[in-house]
């Protein structure tokens, strides 16, 4: 299990002091992530693993924005494995999502 705490270092770097941009970016991540998780869950439950991998691909970007380097690598491996119909990292992926959602709740 990866123990990694998300952070906003990259978001702040991109914002370069522009607080409204910082809020906007975090707001969009908060808006998009639950929708992507729902889409992922639907595809996953229907065993459409390639489509699931396409959603994992999008979520992967958000993982990197939240500074979760180890999780990013784990999820990249999961994306590639899903494309070969291997879903063994599903539970690990759900744990990463939970960490992200909990972190974003404070903003």
């Amino acid at each position: 299990m990866i123990k990694e705490t998300p952070n906003l270092l990259l978001v702040k770097q991109l914002a370069d002091g522009d607080v409204s941009f910082e809020k906007k970016l975090v707001g969009v991540i908060k808006k998009e992530l639950p929708v992507e998780i729902e889409t992922y869950t639907n595809y996953y439950n229907s065993k459409e693993f390639v489509e699931s991998a396409n959603i994992v691909h999008k979520i992967k970007h958000k993982i990197s924005i939240l500074g979760m380097a180890q999780s990013h690598q784990f999820v990249e491996d999961y994306e590639n494995e899903l494309r070969e119909e291997n879903n063994s990292k599903h539970q690990g992926f759900l744990s990463v999502l939970e960490v992200m959602i909990n972190f974003l709740k404070q903003y």
Binding site: L14, L25, V28, E32, H57, H61, K62
Partner: protein, 236 residues
């Protein structure tokens, strides 16, 4: 440089808009969540540079490039490192940015784009080497050569060793192959959209994701043929 952003992920689009705002030579003309809207925009407007995602639903970034009649400079923006080799097979692709994109790397890519000179011949991929001059096609049916007016042909369908040529009024089944008849048809009008179908693009009623409606027939369109089909359309 005038630029547009094409990415289905809003997070990615607003990051790119922010990065563009840090580059004084860039003016963002539009930000599009799908390739189709960007194509419509580009039919009416000229841009110098496109920031283009690869993994998008319906159309990948590479499919999108193949639909463009005029190729501006393109910077690929993706979370996938593995497309780099394919990306640089396109003359118009200036650089390849892996997400998350940071400002110093972004600025470097924009500088490369400014210095980049496009090769004029890369502007179109339409082939016109199989054009025919006449508008009639003769097919051999029961030892008779039957004349078919090519503009009246709607669809040609492969059926094993035979093909069925469907016209507005009548269908003709002929012992031939799609490959043979394709060589006789004007390429500006007819397009092979699937391994079993050639269509007359002037007869299209409407288009859905993976099919076209011609008359009352729904004809499947292969994913690999979609970009060429979309490029032929006069999109509003």
């Amino acid at each position: 440089m005038n630029c547009i952003i094409v990415d289905d992920e809003e997070t990615a689009r607003i990051i790119l808009e922010q990065l563009c705002s840090k580059s004084p030579n860039l003016v963002v003309q539009g930000s599009f969540s799908n390739a189709m809207s960007a194509m419509k925009y580009l039919n009416q407007n000229k841009v110098d540079l496109i920031f283009l995602d690869i993994n998008m639903p319906d159309f990948t970034g590479f499919d999108f490039i193949q639909t463009l009649k005029v190729l501006p400079r393109i910077i690929i923006t993706t979370s996938h490192k593995d497309y780099a080799i394919e990306a640089f097979e396109y003359n118009c692709i200036v650089d390849y940015l892996v997400k998350p994109i940071k400002l110093p790397r972004f600025i470097k890519a924009v500088e490369k784009a400014e210095a980049f000179k496009l090769e004029a011949p890369a502007q179109s991929t339409v082939k016109s080497d199989t054009e025919t001059t006449g508008s009639e096609l003769f097919v051999n049916i029961d030892r008779r050569l039957i004349k078919i007016d090519m503009p009246s042909i709607t669809v040609i369908e492969a059926k094993g060793d035979y093909i069925t040529v469907r016209t507005v009024d009548k269908n003709y089944t002929v012992h031939s192959t799609l490959k043979k008849i394709e060589e006789k048809l004007p390429t500006e009008t007819f397009l092979k959209v699937h391994r079993s179908y050639i269509i007359n693009t002037h007869k299209i009623v409407d288009i859905e994701d993976n099919s076209v409606l011609i008359g009352k027939s729904v004809i499947p369109v292969s994913r690999s043929k979609r970009p060429e089909l979309m490029r032929r359309l006069n999109l509003l």
